[in-house]
Symmetry: C2
Subunit: 343 residues, 2 copies
Amino acid sequence: MKLGQATIKDIARELNVSSSTVSRALKDYPGISDETKRRVKELADKLNYRPNAVALSLRKSKSFTIGVIIPEVVHFFFSTVISGIEEVAFSNGYNVILCQTNERLDREKSSIDTMLSNQIDGLLVSFSKETTEFDHFSKLMDLDFPIVFFDRLPEIPNAVNVTVNDFEGAYQAVKHLLEQGYKRIVHLAGPSNLAISKKRKEGYLKALAEAGIEADESLIIECPGGNEKESFDVTKQLFENEKNRPDAIFAHHDIVAAGAMMALKSLDLRIPEDVGLVGYSNWQFSSMIDPPLSTVSQPGFKIGETAITMLLEMIDKKRDYKSEPVQVVLDTELLVRKSSVRI
Amino acid sequence: MKLGQATIKDIARELNVSSSTVSRALKDYPGISDETKRRVKELADKLNYRPNAVALSLRKSKSFTIGVIIPEVVHFFFSTVISGIEEVAFSNGYNVILCQTNERLDREKSSIDTMLSNQIDGLLVSFSKETTEFDHFSKLMDLDFPIVFFDRLPEIPNAVNVTVNDFEGAYQAVKHLLEQGYKRIVHLAGPSNLAISKKRKEGYLKALAEAGIEADESLIIECPGGNEKESFDVTKQLFENEKNRPDAIFAHHDIVAAGAMMALKSLDLRIPEDVGLVGYSNWQFSSMIDPPLSTVSQPGFKIGETAITMLLEMIDKKRDYKSEPVQVVLDTELLVRKSSVRI
DNA sequence: TTTTTTTGTGCAAACGATTGAATAGCTGTC
DNA sequence: GACAGCTATTCAATCGTTTGCACAAAAAAA
C-alpha cells in the first residue's frame, strides 16, 4: 500500500522527539510529560495516524487474525456459522480470513499453509468430505497451535470441538414420524465417511428399535452428493412401486428432502397424507416450500459463536483445553411443520 | 504464534552462513554456489520452512490480502459472490479477509479501518443500506487506493464497479408477465435509497409504459425490510379485497416473493392461474417451492470473479482504471418457471 | 554544596525477510 | 609480484513498532 499512511516515525520527526517517545505517548505510558503526550496525540489525530497492524504482528508474533476453513460458503448452514464467528471475532478485535475448500483435501491443505504463513493465531475448521486422515491438523495441535473443529469431527483424540447433537436430533425426528403413525420410514443418508451421517443414522435406528420396528437396510440409502437431483431420482425409484411402498422419509438435510418432495409430487403422492417428510438443518427455504418442511434446526450462529469463543480462550490461554479437552454439543430443535403432521 | 516455526535465521545459524545467503539460496539468486543452495534447500525442507508472510508484508508494503465488505454472508446472492471472489483470489495467491456490516454504517467504517491497518492491498465493497454518503470511500480513492464496488453503486464519479443490469432484468420480468396476460401488476419494491431498487422499479415502469398501461402508484409498495413476514402482510392486505384485485406481482427479490406466495395461498388464490408471480435473484430455494418461482437470476459467482479480477489488475497496475474508469454490467437471465405461466 | 531521587527522553535491539554495497579469497594476466 | 576480475559470501539498512536500559537534567534531600 502506498496510501502515504503516517507512521510513528513521521510524528517523531515532525515533533523532534524519538519514536519511542511517540509510541509511549500514544499509549499513555507513565513517564511521558503531559505536554508531550498532548502534542503527540494532537499530531497523530491530525495525520490520521493508524498503527500498522503488520508491524505489530511481526513484533508481537500475534496477528489478531484467525483462519476459518469451511467446505462451502453457499451452504446456508455454514454461512450462519460464519456470521456467528464474524460477530464475536470482530467485537474482540480479531480479523477473520476465510478459505473454502470446495470439499477438496488439497485445497484444505494449501489453505492451511497460506494461513499459517500469514501467522494466524488460531484456526476454526470444518474439514472437507475428502478428508479422511488428519495429520495436517494433529501435527499443528502437537505444537500447541489452537484449533477448534466444528460441525464435522476429526478422528483426533482430545480435539476441541463444537457440534450439534445429531444423534438426538435424528432420533427426535424419526420418533415424531412414528408418533404420527408412519411405519415404513426411509432414511436418505449422508456420506458415510462423515461422523454426522453416522450419528443421524444411529438416531434413526434407535427410534425404530425403540418402537419395536426392525430396520430394513433397503430403506437406508446413501445420498453422498447431497443435491436435489440425486434424491429426486432415488425417491422416485423407491416410491414408484405401489407394493410395499414406504410411507415416510427422514432426509439427511433439507436439500435432499426438497428433492424427495418434488419426486413425491411428481408421483402424485400427497404430503403429509400419503408420505411424511422430515429434513435436517432448517435451510432458509424450508418454511417457504409447500407443504412447509418439518426439519431439525441446527443453531448455526450459536455454533460459530461458541467455536470462536473457545478458540479465543485457547489463544489467550485463559483455559487449559489441553488438560481438559472440551467437546461442546449443542441442542438441535425439531421444527414440526406441515410435511409430517397427519393426525 | 509460538509454533516454533523455522526462520531464515535458524537455517543460517545451523549452516553457519548469513541470512542473506539463505534468502538468496532459497530464491535461486545467481552468485550462490550450487553446493550452498543444495544444503540450504535441504535444511529448509527438513525444517519445513515457510516464509513469514507478515515479515514479507512489512518489508514489501504489500500483504497479498484483499478486504471484502458485504452486508450479510447469509444472503445467498452474497455468498455466491464471495465464492467467486475466493476462487480467483486463492488462485492468484491472495487472501481474503471478510467483514460483514449487517447493513450498518458504523460497522462499515470500522471494518475498513481495521482492514486498512492490516495493510490490505485493495477493497471489494458492497456497502450497507445505511450508507448514503461516501466520503470514507472517496478519500481512499483519492489516495489511489484500489477499490471495486459490486452490486451496489456509490455516488462517486468514476468509481470502478460491477453490477448486473437490474433495469433490463426487471423490464424482462414484467414484460413476461404482461405477455402472459396479466394486467394489474404489483411491484413489491426494495429500499428506495439503493440504486438497484430504483433500477428495478424503472424497468417495471418501462415495461408497463411500453404496453400502454398507466402505472398505478398504489400498486408500487416499498418493502424495505425484505423479509417474508413483511411481504406476507403487505400482500395479504393488497389482495384481500376482491374488487379491483391485482393479478400479478413482481417482487424485488425472492424472499419477498416467497412471503407474497404464502399470503396468496392463505387467501386461496391460485398461482399462476389467479395471480402471476416473479421474483428476483434466483435464491437456492426458488426452484424448490411450489409452484416453482419464476425469477431473474443474477450471476453472483461471475460478479465476484469479475470484481476481483479488476481489483487485482488495479493493484498490479496492469490497467489504468483512473484514466479509463470501468463500469461492468453483467446480464441477468429471466428464469421462467411455473409461478408466472398461464398460457 | 554534594548526593540522591525523580522525571522525561533517547538508544538500540528485536520481530523475519530482502537487497544494494562491501569484502574476502581466488585465478589469471602482464 | 602487483593488480584486475571474478565468485561466493557477508554487512548493514530497511519496513513500523515496542521495550529494557541508559542517561541527562531537574528537583529534592542531605
